[in-house]
Symmetry: C2
Subunit: 213 residues, 2 copies
DNA sequence: TCCGCTCTTGACCATTTGATCAAGAATTAA
DNA sequence: TTAATTCTTGATCAAATGGTCAAGAGCGGA
């Protein structure tokens, strides 16, 4: 007997297709409105699917959210992971910063998704931050400290250097509207269509702050 | 006749007292959960008040939110406003950065409130960003550009220098949980009680991300 | 003290929204 | 073709939530 008839663990073509469709839509919606601010209907509508159908693939709203985070995390951390202890420090750090800037520009939704999650206390990825992320950062911090010890770069606290890089690069994705507002909307290069922000319909119609109190 | 009997514009003692109570509670709640994630009940409970009573002072949830933003904005922008064109550039910028760090440490809730608002497209303060904020930043950017023109500081794009300062200083308030998680919870000086984050009860009980997929 | 105004709240309403279910349509393997 | 399985959705439910209302409690000026 070649193989016991396993209870079809394989994933259907339609299944794979729809799950990806959902994850893409969910990333857009969650990053724009946050977890509580997003509705299952919104996500379903964005992928032209009925709500019950969506919930056939992910049984709870939470599950969609977790899946999107998982789906995005690995690639988001890739640049830091690629920091090479053997490489030239300046070249490595430059490459890292460039990669982070590029990611913030190409995928601001991912940046906002994480920003929102952490901003509200990381209810879904708290354990991940204290575990795998901390390990990764500690590892790379050791690399940077090594470079400093050899006199290849200035003496800086590696952890806070990494924080500074995160802060500055992701700022342009997370606070995009503020950057644009302050710079005055003059067209910027590399601008991609669809910034993932709520349309003007979502701006509050009634009272709103326009001047300093 | 000394004065026409105006229809009591004065604010009652109880009124002033309760409004402040509400604004304080609302800042905590809104900054921790975002606008959509916060409920009027939560805010009411936090100041030991019934929901209808709270809505007696602020008729709609939006009104509370706007009021909190107004109440916080002026002081939040004060340090930048205080940047003195006549002062010594290094001293002025140092003072500004220090003030920003201090504010992020002493009032992280305010930082998170704005971060959340902007992250989601600034539905309530969009006009403010394009108007008064832009004017203020442009004004101070001119100051910095002036310093550079006189050769007192390096040639840098003033707007992006300001962005960088904002990004790095506010990072420690906005992404506090991530900073703490990565640094490993070892006690940090100047820590204030109550970080305004959801209690562990709010962590998701079921599935949650703990490892890289 | 007394009267008008402010303050307070329990009960209630309408809407939104996450989730379920049963029944039917589409797909796939034989 | 056919039967089992997967996929899809209209209808519906229960809970959460923003907001209202009427009625009563409390306060302050005369």
């Amino acid at each position: 007997m070649p193989q016991a008839k396993s209870p079809r663990p394989r994933k259907t073509r339609i299944q794979a297709q729809n799950e990806e469709l959902i994850l893409d839509a969910a990333l857009e919606v969650f990053s724009a409105y946050g977890f509580r601010g997003s509705t299952v209907d919104q996500i379903a509508a964005k992928c032209g699917m009925s709500k019950p159908n969506l919930l056939y693939y992910f049984r709870r709203k939470e599950d969609i959210y977790i899946a999107v985070l998982e789906h995005t995390l690995a690639s988001w951390l890739q640049p830091l992971r690629a920091l090479d202890p053997q490489g030239d420090p300046i070249a490595e750090l430059t490459r890292y910063i460039r990669a982070k800037i590029r990611m913030s520009r190409n995928n601001p939704a991912a940046s906002r998704l994480f920003a929102n999650e952490i901003l509200h206390g990381a209810p879904a990825i708290g354990a991940f931050l204290k575990g795998p992320l901390k390990e990764l950062v500690d590892e790379k911090a050791a690399v940077i400290r090594g470079w400093a010890a050899k006199g290849l770069i200035n003496q800086v606290d590696p952890h806070h250097l990494i924080f500074a890089i995160w802060a500055v690069t992701q700022h342009y994705a997370d606070f995009d509207v503020q950057v644009k507002a302050v710079l005055g909307e003059k067209k910027r290069r590399h601008e991609s269509r669809g910034d993932g922000h709520p349309r003007p319909d979502d701006q509050w119609p009634r009272k709103a702050l326009t001047r300093l109190p």
